[in-house]
């Protein structure tokens, strides 16, 4: 009894998950757990292996090794039971462009086996949620990106699954629509859904309860956004605004005490081990090259800085 209760605490449990395509390892011994009701962010640059991992969790791909439990069911041995418990929005836009909004909803309602007496209610719910009441009769192809995305989400949750996998749901959508979409994700989380969402927009990481950073198939950081940022404070971040950012970058990269340099807006983010001593060093290095420093100050890192720093560290380790 106690054991099953404890098992129930986790919506997703992954242990040592591996996926190989031939010699290529797309998912490399990944382990993580997602709590019920949590918004779990899955971050990483393109090609990191996020989609592959999500497709395994949805029962679409067989893992090459390890174990994945979703909603209490093993994805390798009980994919049908897994599918009943999940909603999945694939990375590609996944509705029928040549059907009307309502027809898309009706179709997915039908194939998900939503009981006929509930279909009308679920349809209204989705139309309200996606703000598509007035366009229920429009061709899906004619909707703007943000609306399409919301409709796709709506169609993926018609059967009221407790766990949602959203693979880069906001890619290619304008910032306002992205904000609106995240509001939806919050609503779903508040109503008890577990949301497993991947993105390559680093700013979206801040919205997640917990997140994992994936890089080249491996998880290189896992935790709450604030914790990850705190860990990074062991090395500090400075903002540098100079007359020639690119030259500055070349001048600083790989120098002692400087852990990483990344372009950020018009300036640079420089992560350093010891701000006090490195400040002088930076001034000297740039001064030698005649680069004028307009601003050089300590800042608190954003999620993006955390990830840039971690990925740079990974690359340093690799080389």
């Amino acid at each position: 009894m106690a054991a099953s209760h404890e098992a129930n605490q986790w919506a997703v449990e992954i242990e040592d998950l591996v996926k190989r395509f031939g010699d290529f390892v797309a998912v490399d011994h990944v382990s993580l757990k997602v709590r019920r009701g949590e918004i779990f962010g899955f971050l990483g640059p393109n090609g990191a292996g996020k989609s592959t991992a999500i497709r395994i969790l949805c029962g679409l791909l067989a893992p090459s090794g390890g174990r994945a439990i979703v909603g209490g069911f093993n994805v390798a041995t009980e994919p049908e039971a897994v599918k009943k418990n999940i909603g999945y929005m694939s990375q590609k836009f996944s509705l029928y462009d040549d059907l009307k909004v309502e027809e898309n909803i009706d179709f997915f309602s039908g194939v998900y086996g939503v009981p006929p007496e509930q279909r009308a209610k679920r349809k209204e719910f989705v139309l309200d949620m996606a703000d598509l009441q007035e366009r229920r009769d429009s061709m899906t192809r004619l909707l703007a990106g943000g609306w399409k995305q919301r409709l796709a989400l709506g169609c993926a949750i018609l059967h009221e699954p407790p766990i949602l996998f959203l693979d880069e749901p906001t890619s290619g959508v304008d910032p306002i629509a992205r904000r609106g979409f995240w509001d939806l994700i919050y609503q779903l989380s508040e109503s008890g859904h577990t949301v497993f969402v991947s993105t390559h927009y680093m700013d979206e990481a801040e919205y997640c309860h917990r997140l994992a950073l994936m890089y080249r198939g491996r998880i290189i950081a896992l935790g709450e956004p604030s914790t990850l940022k705190k860990n990074l404070r062991s090395h500090s971040l400075m903002y540098l605004d100079s007359s020639d950012p690119l030259e500055s970058m070349k001048a600083l990269e790989g120098k002692k005490g400087i852990l990483g340099v990344a372009v950020f807006g018009a300036g640079l983010h420089v992560s350093v081990q010891d701000p006090a001593s490195t400040r002088r060093q930076i001034q000297d290095l740039l001064g030698q090259r005649g680069i004028h420093i307009r601003r050089l100050e300590m800042i608190s890192p954003s999620m993006e800085d955390v990830f840039v720093a971690m990925i740079e560290e990974e690359e340093r380790k690799a080389s």
């Binding site: 679409l60 996944s94 194939v111 998900y112």
Partner: protein, 385 residues
């Protein structure tokens, strides 16, 4: 299970009927093929040049010659005494056929025996050759019938005078000849238009099935479908049933056009035609399904459909008679479902034959169909997993 299949079928119909490209694909091929094979391809032979060799030298043989002369299909350009002259003319292409009336022709035909006429046809164009030889046979047997009718009239007179001889005395086997020729009005259109049914249903169902499945892969909805409770077998049925219906509809439309526009005779059973079409559809839908598993884009699917269809079309006996093919190729045609369906369709249209004669073809089609559809479904399933 069925409600999910119904959802997919409904969706396919919405999509097929809305997409202009799809609509075009439903209408254009049948219209083009009907025009090409109904109007443009005219293999009807008129005024073929014939070399004549009479070894009988009787009034009857001269009458036969007059019958050839009088037919609009032939003109006698050479009269020969040596067979070798005739072969030379044939080789040079100066005549298309040589007719040799063998000694004893008059005796045989008046005696009610099979007439001894030899027809040599220049065979470089197998179609024309088949048609020329069929026309020549036709003329000969028409003449024979004419002779018989005359004789019968004589006998009727004789019977009434010297009562006691049965009237049906010697109605000989000659009349059977003209019934074997399944195209008695001698129009190549009769031969081709029914075959269009075969081409259309093959081309359209292969292509539409393959493309509609590949499109789901292309736009990413296939993955979405795979997380729904839809099982592969349901997806397969939901995908092929709409195109089976479309195929049957095309059969009906092309048949209607054949009857109403081209005045092709339809001597057999319409239900049998539809039934056999269903058997044939097993193969084409299976082929479409198979193509969908080897194609990544709709373009590839379309190319692959043509690559599959063209040889099947060539080896179906639709345009090129199978008995003129090299023996090895003839064996190959036994594996070609189009071959059997062409035989069935022509048989039903022109000869009016039924299951009692067509069952071997029907059985073979069923066997090929189940094998193709079964293995394609398995492969499709594997690919999804």
């Amino acid at each position: 299970m069925w409600h999910r299949i119904r959802e997919i079928v409904r969706k396919e119909f919405y999509q097929a009927l809305r997409e202009p490209r799809m609509r075009l694909l439903l209408v254009l091929p049948p219209v083009i093929q009907l025009i090409v094979f109904g109007y443009a391809v005219n293999l009807d032979v008129e005024n073929s040049r014939v070399a004549w060799m009479d070894q009988d030298h009787t009034p009857a043989s001269r009458e036969l010659r007059a019958a050839f002369q009088g037919s609009r299909y032939f003109q006698i350009t050479n009269t020969l005494t040596q067979e070798s002259e005739g072969r030379q003319l044939l080789d040079q292409g100066k005549v298309q056929a040589m007719v040799r009336v063998l000694p004893g022709f008059s005796r045989d035909i008046l005696g009610g025996q099979t007439a001894a006429v030899e027809i040599l046809v220049e065979g470089s164009n197998s179609n024309t050759a088949a048609i020329v030889s069929s026309y020549a046979t036709q003329v000969v047997s028409a003449y024979a019938n004419q002779v018989l009718a005359r004789q019968q009239a004589i006998r009727l007179v004789g019977a009434s005078t010297s009562a006691g001889i049965p009237i049906s005395l010697r109605l000989p086997s000659l009349t059977v000849n003209s019934r074997v020729w399944f195209n008695p009005s001698l129009r190549s259109r009769n031969y081709f238009v029914p075959g269009v049914v075969v081409n259309i249903i093959a081309l359209i169902t292969i292509m539409l099935t393959a493309m509609s499945i590949v499109r789901e892969k292309e736009i990413g909805t296939m993955e979405q479908l795979m997380v729904t409770p839809i099982r592969p077998v349901e997806l397969v049925l939901g995908k092929v049933l709409p195109f089976a219906l479309v195929g049957l509809l095309e059969v009906i439309l092309v048949t209607a056009a054949a009857l109403l526009v081209f005045r092709i005779p339809f001597r057999g059973s319409g239900f049998l035609l539809l039934g056999c079409s269903i058997l044939f559809l097993l193969t084409t839908l299976g082929a479409g399904l198979f193509i969908s598993t080897i194609s990544q884009t709709q373009q590839q699917a379309m190319m692959a459909s043509f690559l599959f269809f063209m040889p099947a079309f060539m080896l179906s006996g639709f345009t090129f008679p199978i008995h003129n093919m090299p023996v090895a190729v003839q064996y190959l045609t036994y594996a070609n479902p189009l071959r059997y369906f062409v035989e069935i369709v022509r048989g039903i249209f022109l000869k009016g034959i039924g299951i009692s004669i067509l069952w071997p073809q029907m059985l073979t089609l069923t066997a090929i169909g189940l094998a193709v559809l079964g293995s394609s479904s398995l492969r499709f399933r594997k690919r999804l997993e």
